[in-house]
Symmetry: C2
Subunit: 186 residues, 2 copies
Amino acid sequence: MKKQSSSPHSSMGFTVWFTGLPGAGKSTLAKLLESRLRVLGLPVETLNGDEVRKRLTKGLGFSREDRLENIRRITYVANLITRVGGISIVADISPYAQSRDEARKEIKNFVEVYVQCPLKTCIERDPKGLYAKAQQGKVLHFTGISDPYEEPLNPTIIVETEKENPEESTKKVLLELQNLNLILSI
Amino acid sequence: MKKQSSSPHSSMGFTVWFTGLPGAGKSTLAKLLESRLRVLGLPVETLNGDEVRKRLTKGLGFSREDRLENIRRITYVANLITRVGGISIVADISPYAQSRDEARKEIKNFVEVYVQCPLKTCIERDPKGLYAKAQQGKVLHFTGISDPYEEPLNPTIIVETEKENPEESTKKVLLELQNLNLILSI
């Protein structure tokens, strides 16, 4: 009987979850981290907030209840990827401690990265022009303006995107993944 | 530099998609196949219709539009599992050729298993008592009774659960997976 070669089962799946204010830099870091992990030959998929809202959670809004449901679906999928030995990267505001706690409970090897950036700076960056609209009252339930963001109290990693460039923040994440023995080299 | 050992990337992800009438035996076969693949040490997760409706598609009903959206979400997730080198097993009526075609297009290594069983037999089995309710008009949009099931014209595998026992049907699937070089041994 031939042995199934390179069974993925022996590898370690994990989830890297970027949380932070709109404009803090989550998507940028997720993209960069994904490309670094691909270079290492690792199987990785990113669940980006915007894509997820198209593919998994069409119809959900931004009320607390809908946001919790949105994150529960992301958690379900991130967990499945992790369970089969893959790496899932989540980039989502995920403003509520409750949903991040639920994700941590469900997903083995859950790495929470708090993408920290002062609100003032996020408002200046405003990459999608949504802060401006929120301040004019044209977008409701906007995190940081008209909706709360509950800061992670005990994240695995904090990156400070006002002080660090994306390369530096990504390096921090990679070093910690290595430190946690989730990846062997960087 | 240490090499990342047993990278799952080198393994072949695939999706086995069981389609068929309610009561045809999809969940039974999915469960049995999952346990066989686990014994082989392979990383496998099952997306069962009922669980999916709790975790991914709460709020969707059984209209054509909602069923298509339901399957699109399953497809999205099955594809992510497949892409990271895992095996996803889907057990869902998936009555429309359109959605199965979309799944086939999106997912690399898509194995469609038509779980064939005469409607009469499914009605006799009626494991969840839903055929009875549908015939009394208490359940609407019920596939086989008040909603169509479009038979697969060209499935990868056909199993006939009226003639075969679950072990025999599962063996058929495993042999075909080996034949397709998706698994090396059974």
